[in-house]
Symmetry: C3
Subunit: 138 residues, 3 copies
């Protein structure tokens, strides 16, 4: 048993931009000194989340529109009144989607469904260079 921690960087456009990071996680798993265990994918920061989705333009747009309908960008947010950075909606969306996801792997392969991809969803109101932590235990 061992733990391996790696940091990757992803460039995002904000405004619920979804980026498929599955290939980067697969590369990490393929290079580990063990073949069975779990990966924690964690985004440091308060305005982005991690989940899985079938990464095709219809489903990703549907998810983006659902967040806009449920937690609209243009509502009045107290965070905006206090800080003036206009990303109150980003904080609420990120707290609900959450910054962490754990995925099992075996035989050096992620145990994802056929069409299931790991994504970062960046809710901020500007593009960001995002640090993402990949941590394997196995």
């Amino acid at each position: 048993m061992a733990v391996v921690t790696k940091e990757i960087m992803i460039s995002t456009k904000g405004f619920s931009d979804l980026q498929n990071i599955t290939p980067l996680v697969e590369d990490f798993v393929g290079g580990l000194p063990f073949s069975e265990g779990s990966i924690n994918v964690f985004v440091p920061g308060s305005t982005a989340g991690i989940t899985t989705i079938e990464f095709e333009p219809g489903a990703t747009k549907d998810l983006q529109e659902a967040f806009e309908r449920l937690i609209p960008q243009a509502d009045n947010y107290r965070h905006n009144l206090r800080w003036g950075d206009g990303n109150g909606f980003s904080h609420v969306r990120a707290a609900i989607l959450k910054a962490s996801l754990t995925i099992p792997f075996a035989s050096s392969a992620l145990l994802l469904g056929t069409w299931q991809q790991i994504v970062i969803m960046d809710f901020d109101n500007k593009g960001r260079n995002r640090r993402i932590i990949l941590q394997a235990i196995g």
Copy 2:
């Protein structure tokens, strides 16, 4: 320290069907060669999620109705236009609930609350035989 990975199969009805998988997870924990650690429960696939709930017919129906109100089946989803399989709502719901949950155990018992049960929620628009991955590290 060791890692143990097991696959179980659950038959679901889709349409937000909730199945209590706690007894299966407890059986798995009871049979492990170690008594303290964590279980990751992961559903491969893009139209189901894992969470906990008090598994009584009122609360489970409330959760199903909340998802129907927040992310209605009958809305227009771009995924449906592209793929014609009519389960755009399932993808959005599953991406928000997420496919993974980690639960600690000690003395070979899950550290759940008295009424707290582990469930799979299948959002697809048809019944499915679902693979679920249980992975213990401890």
Copy 3:
């Protein structure tokens, strides 16, 4: 590699009360016999959840108001009809936010963003003394 499990107690006010538990998790990490690994933060019970947020009064109030708008306390819940304890809204909110969060640490420090804090959100309709499980593997 080892696993360390600790229970902490938090007093909450219910009604979406948010408590910042980051200092308690940091203390736990600082006292571990290993410096790299992951912490699972888990709340036993069906009416509370764990997430991260920038813990300032604007953003936390925004999150509380979003839950009230999306899953209103005053709606008709079947759980209330069956059990009469009036916390049907609490169960639905907790099942969506989820009871578990995993955070990586390295060099004995949590890999959180600068303003990102770990919180328990207690959705129950009364104050509670909440048990929270912290489990480290590393």
